[in-house]
């Protein structure tokens, strides 16, 4: 039990460290996409840059504007970090005994709860920009949650379980992506929209809403909101790999490939950010309600037939 507890704590800490270095990867990556060098002055090749950033962000001024509701305003970022770190209990790796049983149900619960922290962060700031940004962010999150859970269900139907490690072991001989390729693409786009990332970052469209729901935050509040966002991005890329490219982690070749693929998928989030201009809000809503949802439902019907008649 001590070992399980320790492995849980270590996976939380490793998630935080991964978040820190993911921000460095993003800055470096965006730098090289724009033919310039990223941060390279701090320490050796700019490697300790995330630590310097953390110290800077934590020691910034903590502004408490007069109109806010102070207590929920301070709680909301921490609630968001709590929820997105809680997701790492489902992280299925070689060392950690992950939460078995109904792990993907837990994922759905937690990811739908994290809408409340965004809503609270916007509402309790008591500012017009923050409120507009949070309304947009909430609408976007809840719409994409529908398609996300239906796509998740397609993988669950194919493997007949809602336990993440069972799903991964099920894909020992063939990956689900070969059956479910279009679902993979839709899942990735839904993940990008769910985490409010770059082509779909309407929550913080700089030109119209200065920074969205986190505009009144400074110092530790902003840093924690930022960490929560990046932690959920990293977990989403873990989930992409383990749902569509699963396998037995005890096989050493696959064990390495798993982490390489996670790195690649999380780099894909940055690549998308560097490559595409911002989408339009009504088109985003049409994309989910008029294009993804009907096609996902149809493919789901097809998959149910497939599983039942071919008995795979």
């Amino acid at each position: 039990m001590i070992i399980e507890l320790l492995s849980g704590i270590i996976s939380f800490i490793c998630a935080l460290v991964a978040v820190a270095f993911f921000t460095l990867l993003e800055r470096k990556g965006l730098g090289y996409f724009q033919i310039r060098k990223g941060p390279n002055k701090v320490g050796l090749m700019g490697l300790p840059q995330p630590m310097a950033d953390a110290v800077k962000l934590f020691s910034k001024e903590l502004i408490k504007p007069t109109l806010i509701n102070i207590f929920p305003f301070l709680i909301c970022p921490f609630m968001s970090l709590f929820l997105s770190l809680l997701l790492w209990l489902l992280y299925n790796n070689y060392f950690v005994c992950s939460m078995g049983g109904l792990s993907l149900l837990l994922f759905l619960c937690i990811s739908s709860l994290s809408v409340y922290s965004v809503m609270g962060a916007g509402w309790f700031s008591n500012s017009k920009y923050a409120l507009l940004g949070s309304v947009r962010a909430v609408a976007q999150s809840i719409s994409y949650e529908v398609s996300m859970s239906l796509i998740l269900m397609s993988c669950l139907i194919l493997s007949g379980s809602i336990n993440l490690s069972v799903i991964m072991n099920y894909q020992l001989f063939i990956w689900i992506v070969f059956v479910n390729f279009f679902m993979l693409i839709m899942w990735f786009v839904s993940c990008v929209a769910e985490t409010h990332r770059a082509p779909f970052d309407f929550a913080e469209g700089e030109s119209e809403l200065v920074s969205g729901f986190n505009i009144e935050y400074g110092g530790i509040g902003f840093a924690v909101l930022f960490m929560a966002e990046y932690s959920s991005i990293l977990f989403m890329s873990v989930l992409v790999v383990s749902l569509f490219f699963g396998g037995l982690l005890y096989i050493s070749f696959y064990g390495m490939l798993f982490y390489l693929m996670i790195g690649f998928v999380s780099f894909l989030f940055i690549w998308v950010r560097a490559s595409y201009p911002r989408y339009r809000y009504d088109l985003l809503m049409y994309l989910i309600w008029k294009s993804y949802l009907p096609s996902v439902l149809s493919i789901l019907m097809f998959l149910v037939m497939l599983v039942y008649f071919l008995n795979i």
Binding site: L5, F58, K128, M301
Partner: protein, 117 residues
């Protein structure tokens, strides 16, 4: 269950620690009336900030509610469809999904999915 409680407590402690850290080391500064007012581009922010929002968002939330309930009802299907000898999981899920799809097309036809008129 006990393990989950432990994890929750540990996570809570991590968050508390970060919060304390932030409260201890942030930069002290003077307070100012203009500085502490909500961020708006030069306007006087005395008007009500929690303004009413567009009806579209509310309609969207209502449609989302229906689909979320439907996802909960579809969830047991994932484990039943493989392990069953009867045709009932297949038939019922097909009827359910077809009703859903028809409902979605009906919403579309009635125009409640349109973002702009």
């Amino acid at each position: 269950m006990l393990m989950t409680m432990f994890y929750l407590i540990v996570l809570f402690m991590v968050n508390l620690l970060l919060f304390m850290l932030g409260l201890v080391i942030y930069k002290r500064s003077y307070k100012d009336r203009e500085k502490n007012s909500p961020f708006e581009c030069g306007f006087d922010p005395s008007i009500c900030t929690r303004s009413p929002f567009s009806m579209r968002f509310f309609l969207l939330a209502v449609i989302f509610l229906i689909f979320d309930v439907e996802i909960i009802m579809l969830m047991p299907l994932t484990m039943n469809i493989m392990n069953s000898n009867t045709h009932w999981p297949l038939t019922s899920s097909m009827i359910f999904l077809i009703i859903l799809l028809m409902g979605l097309f009906h919403e579309w036809n009635q125009g409640s999915l349109n973002w702009m008129k």
